[in-house]
Amino acid sequence: MQKEAIRLTGITKTFGSVVANRNVHLEVRRGEILALLGENGSGKTTLMNMLSGIYRPDSGSIEINGVPVVIQSPEDSKRLGIGMIHQHFKLVEVMSAADNILLGSNQEKKILSASRFEKVKAFCEEIGMEVDPKKKIYDMAVSEKQTVEIIKVLYQGADILILDEPTAVLTPQETERLFDILRKMREKGAAIIIITHKLNEVMAVSDRVTILRKGESVATVETAKTTIKELTELMVGHAVSLSIDRPDNDHTGTLLNVHHLSVCDEHGVERLKDVSFDLNSGEILGVAGVAGSGQKELCEAIAGLLPIHKGAILFKKENIEGKSPREIIKIGIGMSFIPEDRLGMGLAASLSITDNMILKNYHRSKGPLVNRKKAAKQAQSVVERYQVSTPSIHTAVRKLSGGNVQKVLLGREIDAAPSVLITAYAVRGLDIHSSYMIYDEINKQKQNGVGVLFVGEDLDVMLELCDRVLVLCHGEITGIVDAKTTTKETLGLLMTGAEGEAKA
């Protein structure tokens, strides 16, 4: 019988009065891919952070290769052969792939030796992965960066790999390639833990699945003997329906015309080039694209946060160029942009939920004082309607878990009853249960005649939820397609810049 690479027994970790992990059991064998599944705030990240030496458990034991260990620092973790691939890459942008790979390893005495490119190349061949050692990181696509990140931890001698939501930034094709790499490593006897929210990926790549719910490990099942439905129920704790509605409605009329729009970022680099599209009343228009293809700039331009370089944006036939963000909010364009760190824009983290409710309309009440009574009522209703788990409406937003932060933001935007709702990454990192609730809310808005611009990551969801999908690549539109008749593969091709053959 083979020894487990990792065995966690009875791990408990608390932060103040919050229990993040309670009596968690988990094991990963060599030559196995284990998927770690759980809703937001179920303690996945905390658990993995204990393996990578960032936190230490209050109680319980960690065994690596059958030996009990204490991991006190990321250094310890590295020495034990554990490599963590974070969602946000930890690479030096201005350095070459080879330099980044060698950087973290301790055995190199002379990092800048001329033979370093050869060395990295030889290593890559040995493990069967491909990367150009001389290429600079800033020249790389996201998937290439990820490959470098993986090679880096392998070079450091890791044979236990932890990947935290690795597919969030990849196209379907890139995801498939990543899975090939993981399968190859599995054959070589590595132990792999993959954290993901996407159940079809779990089914595609993993051997076993461990499910966390509310900080406890509720079950471990073999992937071959389970179904998506069963996994969901284990995760949520009760049965859920897994279909997204696409209700029809008879709203007509165009709300937003974007006309040959070009936008530059603060460094003067053109991030959107000649973008034109319409958004209709009662429609959900999806915006797909690899991360950083201009989605953020598009949202910001419509919300009046970035100046329009060329072209025009018309809202109900009225040009909004030159209007201040406050005026744009007033005419009924609401934006909820969920940035990668979830807090950067839209919420003030150190303020309470109540105070965040009035962020955009506090100035409308009469007199010099803020009206918090109304805000408290609104906070209460958002907390109830979206099932935000929080000790009170006076809790600082910073203290909520990521998913709850998102619910507060979206709840406020929807509550403001805009005629155009821009949501970017509305379900980023959200668990199934909360995601479906948000799809429902967005559908309700659609039926009320709101035009929704839905910037998203999960193509499966976009094809089910949206009416049309607009694809961005390097700031240009490569296609606007009918979601009912398009396949994921087509979207994937458009995202990488292939010519758009279908225009709706």
Partner: protein, 371 residues
């Protein structure tokens, strides 16, 4: 590889209730006094006599009480001033200069219109103090908003500019001809002196008023709300449709204006000299930074903390003259007290636990978790 776990384990505490917090701070003060007393005893000073001077120095007579209050007031007002900017995470460490400029502005009005009706003159002086201090801060805010210059450096450097402006005035335009060779600025005309209420100039009423006003301003007004949002994230403020640069400039102006007002009140109210000197600020602008932070930027907290600072300062003076001790001695004494209280702050926010015989403890914890 087997390794021993480290013994000390630091983790964040859940937030404490207000009463518990007050108890802890009380305990901190007690500890600070005990430890600093140890220092006094170790240096061979008579501890009974020492504390007699501490108490007598501030509370014995009307005169010493008045001295104490006079010590507290500039610090209190200036701390309130810097707290406004700090709330917005704007690091205004130029209170010293803003206070000086406020004093300069007030003195200018007093010298230029000495014969105006008394009430009008005082009002004009206050206005000049507010404007002069406020503009001294606004300069920095303007460059910060327009060109992204570092406000810490700029406010700090302007302190020296303000100080040398006073020197120039003293040696040049405002030099007192009556003082013969001695270089000084003449005292303000009597018409420009602040009125007294309850044996002390009206500064104390203004200061207490400011405490309440700022408490309300921070907590209940739209402007106070804007300050918190901008302080939290400028990006979010921009997204919410706020005019971020306008808010920054307005807030810094208010912060600096309060410091300027402190300067005006100081030259016009200080019963001993009524005079603009190089030492008009005397480090108050810097001490105010510590006071504001110790008080967690709460106006009522500022009131309490500046009381203790004033007491410490006043007592130190009494000890120095009464026991013939050097300033270095009282500096160390003050240092110990501050250090202990700041140290306590850490223990109030974090829990430090020792892990002796960690295995046994682990088992206990596990038991708890399973219950």
């Amino acid at each position: 590889m087997k390794k021993r776990e480290s013994i000390i384990h630091i983790s964040k505490r859940p937030p404490l209730s207000n009463w518990k917090m007050a108890t802890y701070y009380g305990l901190a003060i007690l500890c600070a006094v005990l430890i600093s007393s140890l220092f006094v005893i170790l240096t061979g000073t008579d501890i009974v006599k020492f504390y007699q001077f501490v108490i007598d120095g501030s509370f014995k007579s009307d005169l010493s009480m008045r001295g104490l209050v006079r010590n507290i007031l500039p610090l209190l007002i200036t701390s309130l001033g810097v707290a406004v900017a700090f709330k917005m995470k704007f690091w205004n460490i130029g209170a010293e200069g803003q206070l000086i400029m406020g004093a300069v502005g007030a003195t200018f009005v007093a010298f230029t219109f000495p014969n105006l009706p008394h009430g009008l003159l005082i009002l004009l002086m206050a206005l000049a103090g507010i404007l002069a201090g406020g503009i001294w801060g606004l300069l920095v805010a303007f460059f910060n908003c327009k060109f992204g210059t570092n406000e810490t450096l700029l406010t700090l450097m302007l302190n020296y500019v303000a100080l040398y402006i006073v020197q120039w005035l003293r040696d040049g335009p405002w030099r007192d001809p009556a003082a013969k060779g001695f270089q000084k600025i003449p005292s303000l005309p009597k018409n420009a002196w602040l009125d007294q209420v309850g044996g002390i100039d009206i500064t104390w009423i203004i200061a207490l008023g400011l405490v309440v006003l700022l408490f309300v301003y921070f907590k209940y007004t739209k402007q106070g709300y804007e300050i918190s949002v901008v302080g939290d994230s400028k990006g979010t403020a921009h997204y919410a449709g706020m005019n971020v640069n306008g808010i920054v400039m307005r807030t810094v102006f208010i912060s600096a204006a309060i410091c300027g007002l402190a300067g005006m009140l100081h030259v016009s109210g200080d019963a001993t000299t009524h005079q603009l000197t190089m030492g008009v600020a005397n480090g108050v602008g810097f001490t105010a930074i510590i006071v504001a932070w110790l008080a967690k930027l709460n106006p009522f907290g500022v009131l309490v903390v500046s009381f203790f600072f004033g007491l410490l300062e006043k007592s130190s003076g009494a000890i120095e003259s009464g026991l013939h001790l050097s300033k270095a001695f009282t500096d160390v004494y003050q240092g110990i007290i501050l250090f202990v209280i700041l140290g306590f702050d850490f223990f109030i926010r974090y829990r430090v636990s020792l892990r002796l015989g960690s295995k046994k403890k682990n088992k206990e914890l596990k038991g708890e978790a399973e219950q």
